[in-house]
Symmetry: C2
Subunit: 356 residues, 2 copies
């Protein structure tokens, strides 16, 4: 993690920041290994601090090795004031996406004579191109997802509820070694499969329905994120056609992915194909997103993205077609982007599986 | 949910607000029934809006009945501008704890001539005293937790990992009807049980260890939150003494709880008793907290709380003792506060359970 702090210090120099305040819990884990639910990080040229409360007094001894730890009673900014870490006129960056207005006001009030600089995506951008061990962690998380899929597939049957299946996913995920669910699993069947983000409900899975199953595992904090769609009973012609179109859109996008491609261009590969197939209005979300400590991270892969996809980044490719009358299909893979192409990390079959 | 919106409008009048912008997802669920992951609510004297993105176009048709829905392409503030919902000089409240600095800046830029008013805990305070159906939902969530506990207790054995047990909790929780885990279950054994908030790890549960098990269920969005501590093998004298002290602190605090007691006074009942027993420094967190749509809600029950506990509120009582060399004990119940006392909703035995 010392590497990560060095990367951040270099970036701070480029941004002309003498100090950087970290309020995202995901970033505290990334920089310091801290997994608690309340904390603040501060990096200056000389210091690296983790500030947290008494509940974590013991935990930090085990988790945090690259920071000076300060335990507070109430106010996370207290040790900074007390030890005069910020001097007059100093330019101090903060995370505009991860600091709420209340804490921003407190920061401003506590340090009226420093120059606060709102920043966005500073640490997020550092993590887009992954260090080798970080790639390895995501690889493990993807491998766990593959094993979860193989374990739950035989369990899926009509008559079970979406929540039943979601319970099986979370259970086997942990039993196989995932730290937690990367996110609440999505299990959406029949009319609910046309909701791109419907988490599992008490609805029963029935014959004639498509079932969209979207879940992820976590290894050393790094996430995987995979979706497969199965058919309960024989598919109608339209259901089969939707499925094949999404599968081909997924294939084309993966084939097109390589370092430096603009996110919007990659999105277009899948979107144009689905449009040709008559599904342009049925694909109402982005093609994918970066995948790291957060499930949704940079780079963006959407029609309006201005990001390029760098080498050694890990992204999802997840085209979908959603028709309220018929249901939905989504097929999502995680890929590692190389200079000359991409490597699929979610090694799971993409042919339509029919469950009788 | 119409009741809840009326409550909010009344509160807005008291605060002299002509409009209120809601950015907390929990509050969007509370006011409108919306369970998506991106949205904004706006309440004015005449209008009630839910703004979200295309992914939720279908979902809102099923979930949202008490609001006009606006689907955006990119910017959640867009429909407000377009339809000129805010007029010049209007006082518009926002949630300072739930709006990040970036979105605050956007709001300010989009509406330079309205008067933005930072508010804290407006909706949180509306929900402290519960409506009858909300009490019923928490009651169901507590009943689910009781059934989960009865189901997992026979499964606990030395040799399993903390994650194995955590997997069982989440699994049975969903199978019994919980919408999701109220939070990632805490399973902390041996030295890890002295970490008040250590989530489950790959550590194996061994003979001679205390195991702190803290989990919660969710019913119609409302959470339960319960902790029991079990002993693997026969307890040492000190482990037994710790357990009995925490059990008695829990009992005394529950007996003292009634409407209008200050949160700090209730905290003191348990803290003073633990101090008498020589454990004053070993209880390093608050006695409890309000429990609702969020697991941690108002009122606060801690040494520095300035809140009173109103009638019809639901709170946790969770004293603990943590000794790094020996382990930890926490016993947590959820109680409904009445004028003349409190009713325990988590009807689970509190005697020390020894697993051989």
């Amino acid at each position: 993690m010392a590497d990560r702090i060095s990367l951040l210090r270099r970036r701070m120099q480029e941004l002309n920041l003498s100090a950087f305040v970290i309020s995202s819990l995901t970033h505290l884990r990334y920089l310091f290994g801290f997994s608690g639910s309340n904390g603040l990080g501060v990096i200056t040229e000389e210091h690296q601090w983790l500030i947290t409360d008494r509940r974590y007094r013991e935990q930090v001894k085990h988790e945090v090795h690259h920071a000076e730890v300060h335990i507070i009673q109430q106010d996370l900014f207290e040790p900074i004031k007390k030890r005069k870490l910020f001097s007059k006129g100093m330019r101090v960056g903060f995370e505009a996406l991860h600091l709420n207005f209340r804490d921003f006001s407190r920061l401003q009030k506590a340090f009226p004579d420093v120059r606060l600089a709102a920043t966005e995506y500073v640490i997020e951008k550092l993590t887009i191109s992954r260090l080798p061990e970080e790639i390895e962690h995501t690889r493990r998380a993807c491998e766990l997802a593959r094993r979860v899929w193989e374990t739950i597939l035989p369990v899926i049957r009509p008559g079970m509820t979406e929540l039943d299946l979601s319970a099986e996913i979370s259970y086997h995920s942990k039993k196989l070694g995932s730290e937690r669910d990367a996110f609440e699993p999505i299990v959406a069947s029949g009319w609910r499969s046309a909701l791109p983000h419907g988490i599992a409900s008490r609805k029963t899975i029935e014959y004639g329905e498509l079932v969209v199953i979207d879940f992820g595992c976590v290894y050393e904090g790094f996430c995987s994120d995979v979706t497969r769609t199965v058919m309960i009973g024989q598919p109608s012609e339209e259901q089969r056609r939707m499925y094949e179109a999404v599968k081909e859109a997924n294939r084309r996008a993966i084939a097109a992915a390589k370092a430096n491609i603009p996110g919007a261009e990659l999105d277009r590969v899948a979107r144009d194909y689905l449009k040709e197939q008559g599904y342009d209005k049925a694909f109402g979300h982005s093609l994918g997103h970066g995948l790291g400590l957060d499930v949704h991270s940079l780079p963006r892969i959407s029609p309006v993205s201005k990001d390029r996809i760098p080498a050694d980044s890990i992204i999802t490719i997840e085209p979908g077609v959603y028709l309220p009358e018929i249901g939905g299909v989504r097929i999502e893979d995680d890929i590692l982007v190389h200079n000359d192409g991409a490597e699929v990390l979610t090694d799971i079959d993409r042919e339509l599986i029919i469950i009788e």
